[in-house]
Symmetry: C2
Subunit: 148 residues, 2 copies
């Protein structure tokens, strides 16, 4: 993938306000502000190949070497809602920032690592890849228009 | 806790040989050698307050900013076996290296974050803390005799 830096660890939550406050209290940091993901006309998101109306509240907590992302999804179909309903609150994925996201998605699909969900956000795009069979995790690819 | 560095992301697996090879193939790195945790006379391990005979094969895959730890537990009772049986292969915990492990365990217990499992290893000790209620994760504290 051209990187060995794990950018984010993502955690599904039912109530982002409460869990953000708990992280702030425990780690002695400021409570992060959540933001709502864009609507479908902007995200062009798909989940299992179908247009995905799902939105989520996201909060980012910066640690020294990594960011923990809290995700509170709505009740529309998404990988977030599916995993939250099946496994409960907790871990969802690890994320890597990559160059050439679409070609990496294609290479991974060729390796039997299916695309689960993808979408656009201001300044970039994401793809969740199902690597459960091999790596036992969902991997998110983050492709930003301008490198961080 | 005195640190904001997430040292490890741990992943439960059924077959550490196969999954180690999959990580090596996917990330283009050497396959890590697993090692077996020590026996109870050395680990003094407890799980839910009872002596824990459980052992696990561990493999460590070093990324640029973090280590991914693969864990293949045996069938004795442990947090590893419990989570693997309940949720299947995948994420188990994130780990932080701390100074003063026992006082941090005590402080967390005072905050209703129970100790799940602990043990000794050559050069240090670990404690898994149940922070599901607040942080939605298991947190491992790693206390090494000599700081890395």
């Amino acid at each position: 993938m051209g990187t060995d830096i794990v950018a984010q660890i993502a955690v599904l939550v039912n109530d982002i306000e409460t869990t953000s406050q708990a992280y702030a209290d425990f780690f002695g940091i400021e409570k992060p502000q959540w933001k709502l993901t864009d609507t479908l006309d902007k995200t062009q998101a798909t989940y299992n190949g179908e247009p995905a109306e799902a939105r989520a509240k996201l909060a980012f907590i910066k640690f020294g070497n990594i960011t923990i992302e809290l995700i509170e999804p709505d009740h529309n179909p998404s990988t977030w809602r599916e995993v939250l309903d099946e496994k409960g609150e907790g871990f969802h994925h690890i994320a890597f920032r990559v160059d050439g996201l679409k070609s990496i998605v294609g290479e991974m699909e060729d390796r039997q690592m299916p695309l689960i969900q993808k979408g656009e956000y201001t300044g970039g795009r994401y793809a969740y890849m199902d690597t459960f069979k091999d790596l036992k995790l969902i991997i998110e690819l983050l492709g930003n228009d301008i490198k961080p």
